[in-house]
């Protein structure tokens, strides 16, 4: 438990302390021409201060809340409960279910988006004309508000008048089962929704990388007798790895964080099969006002996300692109 609590502090807290603390004192005195502190740091300071207020403060409040039990009714009180909220979290089937659902949601979306995205990018790379038009078309879904995406897909999948329901019915499927109301298909539908919206990003990322692969590598491979799939497997794919990794981590973080589409379409149902962790925390905190417990689960979620982000930055972007 202590481990879980300490991670966000080291990941997000300490570096900030190291820098935030020193700068403000000097800020006022500094004239741009005669720089007692580094000019660069001075420029960065406003952003750091803003973010410190907007993130460290909430973090501190949440840490405090997570060891309290906050009751509003019938009497208002805050009771210090120590690690009790965290213990409850470990024993709460709802949390485990939410994490399982999250893994399916994130995992399923990633697999589908990556597979489809790489396929489309590779095909697009082969085509000589029309790339501009094609990419202009496919970026559209990314620009649409998640709420609208959710509502739109709910409309498409409605059991009594949805266009997609109709099309799927023509294949003899789901004639008697509503797609969003069936525990087996609701999650699939949500994954498809996200895939529809975000595969284009993967296409663009992978395409950018494909364009950067020098032609001579393919020629060398051809000399060795590798063509078609073999060439893709042994030349292209390894070179795509960094791009794929970036796509993977960006998407997984957003999939964890945002839940508006789920919120609008299934609200977590049926049978909790689509209650992802973000939504679970939202409900605990803002619907049932279990502020202490919600804070504990939310912080744990933060730790997981930050760790994932750490992996992202460390391994893929070469240490945040540090030039040191």
């Amino acid at each position: 438990m202590a481990e879980q609590q300490s991670v966000p502090t080291t990941a997000a807290g300490i570096p900030s302390d190291a820098y935030v603390g020193k700068e403000p004192d000097d800020q006022g005195k500094a004239r741009l021409e005669s720089l007692p502190i580094s000019f660069e740091m001075l420029l960065l300071a406003p952003s750091i201060l803003t973010l410190a207020v907007l993130s460290i403060v909430p973090l501190a409040v949440m840490l405090w809340l997570s060891v309290m039990e906050v009751n509003f009714t019938p009497v208002n009180e805050q009771i210090f409960v120590g690690a009790e909220n965290y213990v409850e979290m470990v024993n709460d089937g709802g949390v485990w279910n939410a994490w399982q659902t999250t893994v399916v949601y994130v995992g399923g979306s990633l697999v589908l988006q990556l597979g489809l995205g790489v396929l489309v990018a590779v095909m697009l790379h082969r085509v000589i004309k029309g790339e501009n038009v094609f990419t202009s078309i496919v970026i559209m879904p990314m620009m649409i508000a998640p709420v609208v995406v959710g509502l739109l897909w709910q409309f498409l999948l409605d059991p009594s008048f949805g266009l997609y329901t109709y099309l799927v019915n023509q294949l003899g499927l789901f004639t008697n089962r509503p797609i969003l109301g069936d525990p087996d298909s609701a999650m699939t539908a949500l994954i498809l929704m996200d895939t529809w919206q975000w595969t284009p990003l993967i296409v663009l990322i992978v395409l950018a990388r494909l364009k950067g692969i020098p032609e001579h590598l393919y020629e060398a491979a051809r000399v060795d007798g590798a063509t078609g799939f073999t060439q893709f497997r042994y030349v292209t794919l390894p070179l795509l790895k960094p791009a794929i990794a970036i796509a993977l981590l960006l998407r997984s973080m957003d999939l964890m964080r945002y839940f508006a589409k789920v919120f609008i379409t299934t609200g977590g149902g049926p049978s909790n099969t689509t209650k992802i962790i973000g939504l679970y925390v939202y409900e605990q905190s803002l619907r049932f006002f279990n502020l202490g417990y919600g804070a504990a689960v939310g912080l744990f979620m933060l730790v997981v996300t930050v760790l994932m982000g750490l992996v992202f930055v460390e391994t893929i972007m070469g240490g945040a692109g540090d030039d040191e």
Binding site: P15, S38, S47, V57, V127, S136, P146
Partner: protein
């Protein structure tokens, strides 16, 4: 796929086109359907099998702008908040991104990571404390409050993205200006800044898109006078059913400007959405 070598020529030639064509249809169909449905009268909207040919009506758009509960105030709120957060984020993000790009410091990596990590926090972790702070500062249900809330996710992104643009400006240019007697500020202001103007524009637009599309923050921090378009859309789910005609028309109004923006900044979009990790 493994049999590709033996695939007949037509497939090799038209295969990619077919894949791309299908993908384009899969992408466009829902959007096109939304547009069509926004023009359908109630009865044809609920027909099954769905109809493609019908007498179009602009009724829902009309209702939306001149009806009893017009959407215009929501639209104004959305614009105010999106512009506000874009200006704030790009303003701070540009100088911050420059600072981060040029900073020579041990542990810069950690600093950079901390900046971006603030964007990873689960929404609730940000929302609840902000709610109580806002309550004390009278920021609830104000445009300023929502602008600040949106800045929590736009600023880190703007700093990183602007930093990646500044990384591409050769330091040699600034050094040349410094030799000619320019101060550091002037080197930044007159040499590097003009070179990243397109990048600033792209950052601003992407910040606008994020803000425009946000739902949860807007849901919690606003009431009647400050609600934005996505909240307006969600309110069409009423106790007695979803007003699908209005939903479709509202959806079109929400997405049109953003899709236009997307096409305009397409060149920077990948860079923007990957926070500078991928250059197109």
């Amino acid at each position: 796929m493994s049999k590709e070598r033996t695939l007949p020529k037509p497939i090799r030639r038209y295969g990619p086109l077919a894949v791309l064509g299908l993908f384009a249809i899969w992408t466009l169909l829902p959007i096109g359907w939304m547009f069509l449905s926004s023009l359908k009268i109630r009865k044809s909207m609920f027909e099954f099998p769905p109809t493609i040919f019908f007498d179009p009506t602009l009724r829902y758009y009309q209702e939306m702008f001149v009806g009893a509960n017009p959407v215009t105030p929501f639209l104004v709120n959305s614009v105010v908040v999106a512009l506000g957060t874009a200006i704030l984020s790009v303003g701070l993000g540009t100088i911050g991104g420059y600072g981060l790009s040029r900073l020579d410091l041990r542990g810069k990596k950690h600093l950079a990571f901390w900046i971006i990590s603030t964007r990873m926090a689960p929404i609730v972790v940000v929302v609840i404390p902000l709610f109580y702070i806002y309550n004390n500062l009278n920021l609830l249900n104000t445009h300023a409050g929502l602008i600040i809330a949106h800045t929590t996710f736009n600023l880190p992104f703007a700093v990183w993205l602007m930093r990646s643009f500044f990384d591409e400006v050769p330091i040699a240019l600034e050094e040349a200006a410094r030799i000619d007697g320019a101060t550091k500020w002037e080197a930044f202001r007159r040499v590097s800044l003009p070179l990243v103007l397109p990048g600033m524009g792209a950052t601003a637009i992407i910040a606008i898109v994020f803000s425009w599309n946000d739902f949860i923050f807007a849901l919690i921090f606003t009431s009647n006078q400050t609600q934005t378009m996505p909240v307006a859309a969600a309110q069409l789910i009423t106790q007695t059913g979803t007003l699908w005609g209005r939903v479709m028309a509202t959806g079109v109004v929400i997405l049109l400007p953003m899709v236009t923006f997307g096409v305009i900044v397409k060149k920077y979009l990948v860079s923007g959405l990957t926070m500078g990790a991928v250059k197109q």
